[in-house]
């Protein structure tokens, strides 16, 4: 995505040409390889991909939380409301973490502290960022609990006294306590049952509108994307292969990988006897294929795909794809 194509004023978050590597015994793991993500104020972007695609690493980098020393942000910039997160010092980072930017992690069973009451855990961020008294912060924590549908008088209870769905609500209450401008949700409902997932997604949607929050939704589930996102980036082996709004991606998907993801899903209404898996396996991140990282699994691979990484091709003002099958403003070749 070209920076000039987007108006910088209206973006809460701009990630430009981000590259992240991990050093391991097996060699350098190229986790994120030059991705761009722009989130407009009040909008939600879905980052979709499979295990090891670099989704969580990208999320961690936004708060400069990529584990060091094994992980390293090699290049790129992350602008949060115009300020580069990667050049901030530890104090500045502490100021934005949990205040301007909040994060919901995948597993509510492990992301809460088992020896602190949930009230204390919600109040902690408020006390630090809002510089208010303990008493006042607990009062606000109770209001947050009510907001996510848990009676405020349960603030004195410990995480083990809550079910999985309620724990995730507590995590959401912690994340939203300081009304962040940007919410990063890393597979927030993966550990939950479908009926509870439906409740939590509806809650996230309501609160997002209420506070006009921007959101980065990380998920592997295209159904969740259809439900909460405005735009989608499809990530594979640390590259964003396709980006567009919901209509672009769901009705007009262009990249063979995006198409493969949809085809591999069992359709709930028509019961086909055979599913169409994507052939092969996700590539070894220490030894990524040359050229386009998807070419070994792609049915449409051409000679050029083996050696040349395709650049961003803009199909329309909203829809962008990295694939040699397309030229700028080219359509419907699949």
């Amino acid at each position: 995505m070209d920076a000039k194509k987007v108006n910088t004023q209206e973006n809460t978050l701009e990630i430009k040409n981000l590259e992240i590597e991990y050093f391991s015994d097996d060699g350098i793991v190229k986790a994120v390889n030059g991705i761009d993500i722009f989130i407009k104020t009040g909008k939600t972007i879905g980052l979709v991909g499979e295990t090891g695609a670099g989704k969580t690493t990208t999320a961690l980098s936004i708060l400069n939380l990529v584990p060091e020393p094994q992980g390293k942000i090699v290049s790129g910039e992350i602008l949060l409301e115009g300020k580069n997160v990667l050049t901030m010092n530890e104090d500045e980072l502490e100021d934005i973490r949990g205040d301007k930017v909040a994060m919901i992690f995948q597993d509510p069973m492990t992301s809460l502290n088992p020896v602190l009451t949930i009230g204390d855990q919600i109040a902690e961020g408020l006390e630090i960022h809002r510089k208010i008294s303990k008493k006042e912060s607990i009062k606000q924590a109770k209001e947050m609990l009510e907001l996510v549908g848990i009676p405020g008088d349960r603030a004195g209870e410990y995480p083990y006294q809550f079910s999985g769905g309620m724990k995730q609500r507590v995590v959401i209450a912690i994340a939203l306590a300081c009304s962040p401008d940007l919410l990063i949700a890393d597979e927030p409902t993966t550990a939950l049952d479908v009926t509870i997932q439906a409740q939590v997604l509806m809650l996230i949607n309501e609160l997002k509108d209420k506070y006009r929050m921007s959101m980065l939704m990380i998920t592997h589930d295209l159904g969740i994307v259809a439900e909460v996102c405005d735009e989608v980036s499809v990530i594979y082996a640390g590259n964003i292969l396709e980006h567009g709004n919901l209509k672009d991606i769901f009705d007009n998907m262009l990249h063979p990988y995006t198409k493969g993801l949809f085809d591999a899903l069992p359709d709930i209404e028509t019961r086909r006897s055979e599913l169409k898996p994507i052939k092969g396996l996700t590539p070894d991140p220490t030894n990524l294929p040359s050229g386009c990282p998807f070419h070994p699994r792609c049915d449409y691979a051409m000679e050029v795909c083996f050696s040349v990484m395709p650049g961003n091709k803009w199909i329309s003002s909203t829809h962008c794809v990295q694939c040699h099958l397309y030229k700028d403003t080219d359509k419907n070749m699949l």
Partner: protein, 334 residues
Amino acid sequence: MNDILLDVKCLKKYYKVPKGILHAVDGVSFSIEKGKTLGIVGESGCGKTTVGRAILRLVEPTDGSVIFDGIDILKLNKKEMRNMRKEMQLIFQDPFSSLNPRKTIAQTIEEPIILANMIPDKDKRFMRVIELMEIVGLAERLINTYPHELDGGRRQRIGIARALAVNPRFIICDEPVSALDVSIQAQILNLMKKIQRENDLTYIFITHDLSVVNHFSDDIAVMYLGRLVEKAPSEELFLNPVHPYTQALLSAIPVPRIHNRPKRILLRGEIKSPINPGSGCRFANRCNYAEPVCSQEEPVLGEIEPNHFVSCHFCHNFNKGRQNVPLPKVCAEG
């Protein structure tokens, strides 16, 4: 309904816990024809895994009968049961923890053959292992690798090969693809279907993923808190769900499309405790249609149409899209 391989009658599994009796499985009955697949769906804690284990006597059922090919296996002694296990195998959910990390692929697949004393000759046994690896699509060169060297999809193939090793007629698949990415999930589901066709296998397919179960099963049984609430042929269940819980469950699936999105039925509250659940319908506290009778009397599983069983006091009112008709007070039939 003549060729029934497995007939489960009023299966119960209770656990004694400090607070009382935990009703994990509470009077579940169903039967499966030869060569068919029964999907069991439900949310965490509904007892679906316990049903699977109780059928194999991996947990000893509290009451009921499990008739496999005319033999009540709950009456078998230890030695007879061991013989019976050759006919009935299990594929586990998590290919990361269900394989012994200190055994090679060959040793893992060979183990059930040795335990069942099926092929005493070492060379012949080795040939059988190679054959099994070929069936599940594992390259022969992997024969001496250890589980940690393999990805989730390959590990699950080992789990399948191990289950097939003793030529079973019946396999319980407990969430076999939940831990896998969609592109790999489709590969494994196709493989399991192919093996079923070629070996005339009968499956119980336990899962929380409704789109997968619809794709895979001939019949689907929906469980809620230890009880069967509805059972019907897959197509019938998806087209015409009758129990209010089934309706809510199906509507909660996030569908990967942006047009014609289904209307969601949101459930209130959370699943109640399976410890001393008391009388009445267990879903009553979350049901949008509950009447006083629901919390007093236990509904019975009744056949509302051929092969379509529902356990609800008002099932006849919910039928055929008449959900909005005011509910007269009727009692359970059948």
